[in-house]
Symmetry: C2
Subunit: 458 residues, 2 copies
């Protein structure tokens, strides 16, 4: 093991060494620094040369850190790093869009190759950053931007390169998955589970990007580009978060033999790409249904290889650092520059190979949870609207009032509730038909609250 | 799509093109040819240049083929290919050790980079072939040699390179897994299931290398080298096949909440490597237990990334071809040569980083199925031997005679069988203790047949 003091006194074997700097020493940055400093022998073995942490840029030099750095590494000057011609690779771990974008552009203009975990930055400014990198003969590696420790970027870009990928689905947001798993297993409510996730460090103070599907949509936009050559603005991906999920939905899903997961889906149909992010009912015997806590999973189907399933930790200090350091090694040995140059991500010279399919035409089964007036004719009225829109019912749960705590609220003392839940699963139908039927049902006089609608997977 | 006729009339854009030849046009070879000929646009996109199938060498030019080749590609002369200076990459798909080894050495001496799926060849002659490749400045890619379409070689060598891998376990033989799944689900016997596997093309006429654990041990030896830097002769890996499995074992395992799979395991303990291949009881909620038919799965644990689970088709024409063609692309663009040069597989200059641990010290739980005399004192005698060797019992099944068809054979007309099965699960113990106890129990007068012993995983 090459410990920090030994490294700091090391000889300057420049050709056998790549110097790297980290910008942003938060949780992931500290993990990356640990791997580089404590396991220099390991990175050297995989890179065929020393990977040397030269600098780590932080905003506040006095803030206590989760990692012990040798003297002279910590600095609060980005310029010091950008202007140092000895630094070859910059690990850009600043969050947010600005100044992350500007720092990245300046670093590449200073001749640095980049490694980043900032998926929001790539989702917003990927085209600009990748084009500029190519103009400058630089590379950008971003394995850690999607699915944390699961190396899905390399797998799609390299390992499965003999395939036309035909579909891809994944649990890409660890925070949401932790919250949904906890609600499912503990029967707890959404708000209290979010608080628990925050206490445990699985959710940020403002978790909205995670729970409303934004984060998963940004990751899906990146994967859709790699897998299908599609250029997608993540805002155009139909998305639904987990913030409207109730414990009852998880219970009904279980009764029907399903689990609910926030699933990101991309499917190639007649050269068009169907994309969505939504809490989805997944059959209990599908491996995706068993993905718990902060784990991520991705199922990729290729026309030659068939289905390949990946499962691992989608977030956390060391899993993410694992992806970042693999990228640093790939960049230092020269694999990343080759891949980056060859695949021409987001190049304007290549028209997108697949356009996004109209959301209305997406076909699938649907789960509907309605809150309905407890009087005769209700089910008939609802079923009538469904039939009108050619939605065929595959199963219905109307819980016996009083059968369980969630089965309705009484307006008086009679014990018979005025309002009861009703759960309907449909056979396959188009999104457009399901959406129109839902709107029409919501306007019926027997409906006492918003309808929860989710897609269903086999 | 670049169809074959168009390609054959193509201009000679040499620098933008890699010429490849296939040696051996069996099932996998035909799949590779299909991908190269029918999907030239796809390989070109991933390689940044044309991947051109120049030649395919076969023994018998007249044999009907599973693929339509443009005129001029098929040849029965290996020399024609080796002596053609325009051919850059050779896809070596001959089975067996000789002349595969000699062809590979000659091809590299002729300046060709190699792609192969021949795992037996690498397990036997890896050190020689890899050393020679390095001397000649050539590379050998072998993704298809382990786990078919699951890209485990690239994942261990590149994607998880920031990690010390601490353990690795996998279902690496699709033939065995197909047989065991079928026996488990259909309740059929071993011999008849092997015949079914042969009819369906999942097992060869002589399936012994698959069912006796040889194939899995050869693959494990390769993975152990990549993951742990260990140099292992596959013959030194303790191995047990599925050929002694009875349907009863699968049934008892289920009753205990387990499934049986042929599992290859490598675990790093105090810098020593514990290796084994054996039919193993795996708890029903472990994803490995759900791996069915010809699928393979591998669970790798890294000290940074944690557990990563891979699942996909471990054999078959197109999944294997997917791995081969990914290797061809990686070789053509230059990634494989970098990886091959950097990692120095099987280099004699690097002492092995982990030695194999003495099999006697391996610790784990054990499943024992005994055939015992149906008289008082039998269980006491067996339990006594187990206690003497410090094997503690966690559960026992002694089926009620007549309770099911397999619960014993009667010596007369009385209805009480002379001989009954007895299943014992132990708590954790060393392999040495379990082995000594088993030998001692087998010598007891109450034992009426060989003892089946298998490891048990949580």
């Amino acid at each position: 093991m090459q410990t920090a003091p030994a490294r700091q006194s090391g000889k300057h074997d420049a050709p056998k060494r790549s110097n790297v700097a980290i910008i942003g020493l938060g949780t992931v940055g500290a993990g990356v620094a640990k791997l580089l400093i404590d396991h220099g022998d390991r990175t050297a073995r995989h890179a065929g040369k020393t990977i040397w942490l030269s600098k780590a840029v932080v905003r506040d030099l006095k803030k206590p850190r989760d990692v012990e750095l040798p003297d002279g590494i910590l600095t609060d000057s980005i310029d010091e790093v950008l202007e140092d011609p000895e630094i070859d690779i910059i690990i850009q771990l600043m969050g947010g869009l600005s100044p992350a974008r500007e720092v990245m552009l300046r670093a590449m203009e200073s001749g640095k190759d980049m490694v980043t975990a900032n998926k929001a930055l790539l989702a917003e400014h990927g085209a600009e950053l990748f084009t500029r990198a190519r103009q400058l003969g630089r590379s950008i590696a971003f394995e850690a931007a999607v699915a944390g420790g699961v190396p899905i970027i390399a797998n799609i870009s390299q390992c499965l390169s003999a395939n036309q990928i035909t579909s891809l689905e994944g649990i890409l947001n660890g925070t949401s998955n932790f919250i949904v798993s906890q609600m499912d297993e503990k029967g707890a409510g959404y708000d209290e589970t979010v608080r628990l996730a925050q206490q445990l460090g699985y959710a940020e103070a403002d978790p909205s990007m995670d729970v409303d599907g934004t984060d998963a949509a940004q990751k899906l936009a990146i994967l859709a580009h790699l897998a299908f050559g599609a250029t997608i603005d993540w805002r155009d991906i139909p998305r639904q978060g987990i913030d409207r999920l109730a414990p009852e939905d998880l219970q009904y899903a279980r009764r029907l033999g399903y689990r609910i997961k926030l699933l990101a889906t991309a499917r190639l149909i007649d050269d068009e790409l169907e994309l969505s992010v939504a809490p989805t009912l997944i059959r209990g015997d599908n491996p995706m249904a068993a993905v718990r806590d902060a784990y991520n999973a991705i199922r990729v189907v290729g026309d030659a290889v068939g289905p390949v399933f990946y499962h691992g930790l989608g977030a956390g200090q060391m899993p993410t650092a694992s992806a970042v350091v693999a990228d640093v090694i790939d960049t230092a040995v020269g694999r990343t520059p080759i891949t980056f140059q060859t695949l021409e991500y987001f190049s304007s010279e290549h028209p997108p190979r697949a356009a996004q399919r109209d959301v209305e035409t997406l076909r699938g089964r649907h789960y509907l949870r309605l809150t309905v007036a407890n009087h005769p004719g209700t089910l008939a009225a609802i079923a009538g609207v469904l039939a009108k829109h050619h939605l065929s019912i595959s199963s219905v749960i109307q819980p016996e009032p009083g059968g369980d705590g969630s089965a309705g609220s009484s307006g008086g003392d009679s014990g018979t509730p005025d309002v009861v839940p009703l759960v309907i699963m449909t056979h396959e139908a188009s999104e457009g038909a399901a959406s129109r039927a839902t709107t029409e049902i919501e306007a019926l006089p027997c409906i006492a609250g918003p309808i929860i609608r989710m897609p269903v997977k086999g």
